[in-house]
Each structure stands twice: as structure tokens, then as C-alpha cells.
């Protein structure tokens, strides 16, 4: 944990807004600029800021590494699972119009679900890479 009071206070103040903005980018990506990739990176950046300021151990306590590993796989499974679901519902792979009675709503739902999967995987992978790199130097210190 850093000793700099200003850095800690500012980080504590900013992190909720960074995460909130990440969620906004995630779920508003079909109306404005943004989407899963950007949202995942923003959320990961918020968590990395937390890790930088408050230390890796606190970050690991907030988001346990096993959970991150599960999320890495979960996001990709959500995406691929959506494709399999559309096949089971009678369409082609990733053919979203079968997800709802109205094809337009189906497309909309499909995009939302798939973007959520993208965001989950991107955020978790970024976090896992950061934790791997940052945790590498620990025993020597």
C-alpha cells in the first residue's frame, strides 16, 4: 500500500466512477460508442488502479484469483453458448433472431449477451495478466 495520502484518497474517489463508467460503456454500447472490449478494459483498468495504489494483496482479497480464472472461461463460454443456444432454438450458429419472438429483439438480446461475454473475458484476462506480472516480482522484495 502506498504511503501517499492524496493518491489514496483520489484513487478511492475515482475507482467507483471508473467501474460505473465501464458498466455504462458495456450496456450502452448498442446506442453510443463502446462495447464489450472497451468496457472490459475500463473495468480492468479500475481494478489495476486499485492494485497499484492499495497493493496486490488487497486486490487479490477484493477479487480472488480463482474467481478471475473462472471469469476468463465464463465470458468465452457465454459467447459460444449463445451460438449453441441459437442452434438449439432452430437457427444457425450465432443467428440471434431465434432468441426472441420478434427477430429485432432477438438480435438486440443476442448482441447484449455476446457483448457481456466479451466484456467478462477481456476484463478478467487483463486482470489475470496484471496479477501474473505484478505477482512475479514479489518473493524477491
Amino acid at each position: 500500500m502506498t504511503e501517499l495520502l492524496i493518491l489514496r484518497v483520489v484513487a478511492k474517489f475515482l475507482i467507483p466512477f471508473i467501474l460505473l463508467f465501464g458498466l455504462y460503456v458495456q450496456f450502452h454500447g448498442d446506442f453510443g460508442p463502446g462495447g464489450g472490449f472497451q468496457a472490459g478494459v475500463i473495468i480492468a483498468a479500475g481494478c489495476v488502479l486499485y492494485g497499484l495504489v492499495f497493493g496486490l494483496d488487497n486486490l487479490r482479497a477484493a477479487i480472488p484469483p480463482p474467481l478471475v480464472r473462472v471469469l476468463v472461461a465464463l465470458g468465452l463460454s457465454i459467447y459460444a453458448g449463445t451460438g449453441v443456444l441459437t442452434v438449439l432454438l432452430g437457427g444457425r450458429f450465432l443467428d440471434y433472431q431465434w432468441l426472441a419472438h420478434d427477430p429485432r429483439h432477438g438480435h438486440h438480446y443476442g448482441i447484449m449477451i455476446v457483448e457481456f461475454g466479451v466484456g467478462t473475458t477481456v476484463a478478467a484476462v487483463m486482470l489475470a495478466i496484471y496479477c501474473s506480472f505484478a505477482g512475479r516480482g514479489e518473493p524477491e522484495r
Partner: protein, 174 residues
């Protein structure tokens, strides 16, 4: 601005400064993307290129030194390859249509259909999202799989030291 930043990055011997300048370079690229109306791409460039990559570079630096080794020989062959490739690329850009040219092939292939269909067929206003997640859903699935693979690779290489430190380090050395 971009050229000045890139040349400074090449001349620098302190890798810490190189990492920071790469972040600045990414921000400049992001502003160029905004000027070109590619807001989604600018967003990604600013977040990934300037944000996460800089942090990862700094973390990697904390594991190594921050001074570049001075090469003994001048890499003339590498310089020649770079210059030839650059000239070829510059020559190729002569054939590209000017920016904003309405007759450019990219505006006539599938783009009109995407632009016309997205509001009725998919019902969302952001065409970039509809192309990314719907028309080109397979490609995006592949991209996510690439990111997944990269994450798993890093976790396997760097994160697996907890169980048996001595044996793991020994294997790495071989």
C-alpha cells in the same frame, strides 16, 4: 507529433521513458481516430494502448532493469529492411483512395447494406456494434478466443509458481 514521438522512442535508452512515450503515442493515435470519426476505435486505443499497456510495461520494468543495453554492432541489415519495407508501404499508399472519397471501394461493398439494414433488422443505433457482434459475430468470437488464449498462456507461464517453486524454476531454466 507522431513522428517526433516515434523518433524519440527510437533514440531513447531509458526504457521507462520509452514506456511513457508509447502511452503518449497511443493517446495521439486515439485523437487521430476521433478526428477520423472512428470513436469506437479511439476508445479502445486510449484504454488499451495508453492505459493498460503502459501499466503492463511499467510492471514488466519492475521485474527487469530500466536501461537498454547498448548494442555492440550497428544493425545495418535491420535498418535496411525497415527502410525498404517503409518505402514499399509508402508506395502502396499511393494506390489507396483519398480519405473520405465517396467512390472508395470500402463504401460500396457491404457497408451500404449494413447501414440500411441495421435500424430495421437489428434495432440498435450503433452500426459498429451491430457489425461487430452480429454480422461479424464469428470474427468477434475468434477475437475473444484469442484474448482467452493469451490470458491462459500468461497465467500458465507466469502464474504457476506456487505449488513447487524449486521444480518450476528449474524447468524454466532448461
Amino acid at each position: 507529433m507522431l513522428v517526433v514521438t516515434a523518433l524519440t522512442i527510437v533514440r531513447m535508452r531509458s526504457i521507462l521513458a520509452v514506456v511513457m512515450l508509447s502511452g503518449i503515442y497511443s493517446f495521439l493515435m486515439a485523437s487521430i481516430f476521433v478526428v477520423l470519426d472512428a470513436v469506437d476505435v479511439a476508445f479502445t486505443e486510449a484504454a488499451v494502448g495508453a492505459g493498460v499497456t503502459t501499466v503492463l510495461g511499467l510492471v514488466a520494468l519492475s521485474l527487469t532493469g530500466d536501461q537498454e543495453k547498448i548494442p555492440r554492432r550497428r544493425p545495418v541489415l535491420a535498418l535496411a529492411v525497415v527502410i525498404v519495407t517503409g518505402v514499399v508501404l509508402l508506395y502502396a499508399t499511393e494506390d489507396m483512395p483519398p480519405i473520405g472519397d465517396p467512390a472508395a471501394p470500402i463504401h460500396h461493398h457491404v457497408v451500404p447494406r449494413y447501414l440500411a439494414e441495421t435500424p430495421e433488422a437489428i434495432g440498435i443505433p450503433n452500426v459498429v456494434t451491430s457489425v461487430l457482434a452480429d454480422y461479424r459475430g464469428y470474427d468477434t468470437l475468434g477475437e475473444v478466443a484469442v484474448i482467452f488464449t493469451a490470458g491462459v498462456g500468461v497465467m500458465l507461464l507466469l502464474g504457476r509458481r506456487r505449488r513447487d517453486p524449486a521444480a518450476g524454476e528449474g524447468k524454466d531454466d532448461q
